[in-house]
Structures are given as structure tokens and as C-alpha cells.
Point group: C2
Chain length 147, copies 2
DNA sequence: AAATCAATTTAGCATGGGCTAACTTTTTGC
DNA sequence: GCAAAAAGTTAGCCCATGCTAAATTGATTT
């Protein structure tokens, strides 16, 4: 069965994949600002060592990435000090947290296990359009207020 | 509101992100074998020029990628000739096509526009666990057979 | 205050996945 | 059958994202 997806025209393919590549470029940025925001809440500050531990990468990698985020205006940091979000970084973190929560809640509303919902949300959140996110949100809401 | 996601323990974070990085490493491979399979069906063969056009990249990039896929055992090709899937490549393409269709159908079942469903499916499909995929499939089925 | 330990940074490397420009091979059209 | 066009390949470049090893800085402890 599986009702035959509308085949995108050739011309659309290229655009689709270009947008996907862009999306991927933002993923690491989003994961970092989200995690930095979490750390500031949970531990009072965001240290490179904590980021390294949570992402499962080396401190050197964190350093690299933080430099990129700083270059791109999402964080500020001084040598040997902890890491701060700029306004842009905070705004992005807020957006990401909200989006993550909506995706997570949606997966839970569908009946998925918390562990799986958490993992899948982490992957899916970066690839959900505003429209789809809104549909997810409404669906969860409907389930909560009693179908 | 937004029912408070279970916070993964610190130890789980690293594993989550390691798996996400793995998932990303497979995305391009999956997109390529899927597209190669499509081209063989649609045009009788998969040429580098068609892949380049559909992905919106240069022929040189396609060449690079095909070399990697060949190294990894998913495709076979001879210089200046078209590209073939190995058994492993075909199996992966089949799996991806099915998964893509399930995600697409699910988004459609949720009421999303075909264009948006197609784009979001392309991003989401690589990040859906077997469990979530099964829930998607059942949901779509339920909607079809009349709530 | 010095020594030690933890955290951070730097240097140098690899791979993936893009690019352009130049070149070779294959296909096509006369 | 040859010339031009199309397709494919190669070389050399770039950036993102990872790594290890070594150097440096900051914090702690005696």
C-alpha cells in the first residue's frame, strides 16, 4: 500500500538537499547552545569540561566548536573561563528547548517509551518545519485534553 | 506545561550524541543508495550527472561520494560507466525507501501538506528508531481503516 | 609559596563532504 | 569517421568536526 508519495520534480530535489545540508550545519550549533543553557541552569555555569563530558567528545573538540560559535555570535568566552550565551545564543537556545519539548511530548503522546522518545527527539528536532511542529503541538494538546 | 521530559543522566548524554553522530555519518550513504535505486527505476540507470543534478552538487562531489560508497561496499562502478548497487546497497535502499514512505505517509496522515511532508520526511527518516517507525506505521494504518 | 592537579588551550592530524579548474573519455551529430 | 558536446575524472583547495599529545593556566592543598 503506502499511498505513493508525490514524487518531487527534479528541480525540487536539489533545493531539498541543499536545505538539508544547511539544516545539518545548524545541528551542532543548536545542540551546543541548548546544552550550554542547560548547564547554566543545572550547574550555575557552562564549563568546557562539562560540555565535553555530556557530548562525549574531548575538551579540544569543545574548544574548537566554542570558537566557531563565538565567531558566529552565539556565545562569548574568555580564556580559561566559563562560557556564556549571547542574546542570539539565548534566543536560539530558548527556541530549541521549546521545539525539543514539543517533539518529545509528541512522541510520548504517541505512546513511545521515555528513553526512545528522548533519543529520537534529539535527532528529529532539527528536521521539523514550523508547520509540522505546530501539528505535533496540537496533536499532543488534543490527546491531553481528552481526544 | 509541556510535561517535563525525563532528564537523561549525564552518562546517557554522551551515548546519545555518539549515536547521533553515527546516524549522521549514514545519512549521505542512505540518501545516495536511495537515489541510485530511484534513478535505476526511473531512468534505467544511475549516472553521476543525474545524481549531481538531483542532489544539487557538482559531478566532482558525486565522484568523491561514490568512491566512498564503493569502498564501503554499497555500490560498484567502472570508470565512465553508470553506477550499480551491490546487494548490501540494494538492501539498504529498500530499507530506506520503506522507512521514508512510512514517515511520509505518517506526516500526511497527520494532515500535513504534501510538499512539507516530503521535505520533513527527508530529514526525519534518518533519525527514527525502529520503535518509533512502528508507531508511525500503526498510526497511519489506523487513520486509514477509519480511526 | 610551591607543588600538584584539573582545566583549558594549542598544534598537528584525519575524515567527510563540499567546491573549481583542468583534463580525459565517451557519446553524438554531421 | 571526425569534431563537438556531454560526461566523468583528477588535483588541489576549503571548512566542519572529530582526535591525540603537549603546553599552559588556574585552583587546591599542604
Amino acid at each position: 500500500m503506502a499511498g505513493g508519495a508525490v514524487l518531487p520534480t527534479k528541480e525540487n530535489h536539489a533545493e531539498t538537499f541543499a536545505r538539508l545540508r544547511d539544516a545539518h550545519a545548524r545541528e551542532v550549533t543548536e545542540d551546543y547552545v541548548e546544552m550550554i543553557a542547560d548547564l547554566i541552569v543545572e550547574e550555575g555555569e557552562a564549563r568546557a569540561v562539562s560540555l565535553a563530558e555530556r557530548f562525549g567528545v574531548t575538551p579540544a573538540t569543545v574548544n574548537n566548536t566554542i570558537k566557531r560559535l563565538e565567531r558566529d555570535g552565539f556565545v562569548s568566552s574568555r580564556p580559561y573561563r566559563s562560557i556564556f550565551l549571547t542574546e542570539a545564543g539565548q534566543a536560539l537556545a530558548d527556541k530549541c528547548r521549546e521545539r525539543h519539548q514539543i517533539v518529545y511530548d509528541f512522541l510520548i503522546a504517541l505512546g513511545l517509551d521515555a528513553k526512545i522518545a528522548e533519543f529520537d527527539a534529539e535527532g528529529i528536532e532539527h528536521h521539523v518545519s514550523a508547520e509540522t511542529l505546530e501539528v505535533f503541538r496540537k496533536f499532543t494538546e488534543a490527546r491531553k485534553t481528552g481526544d
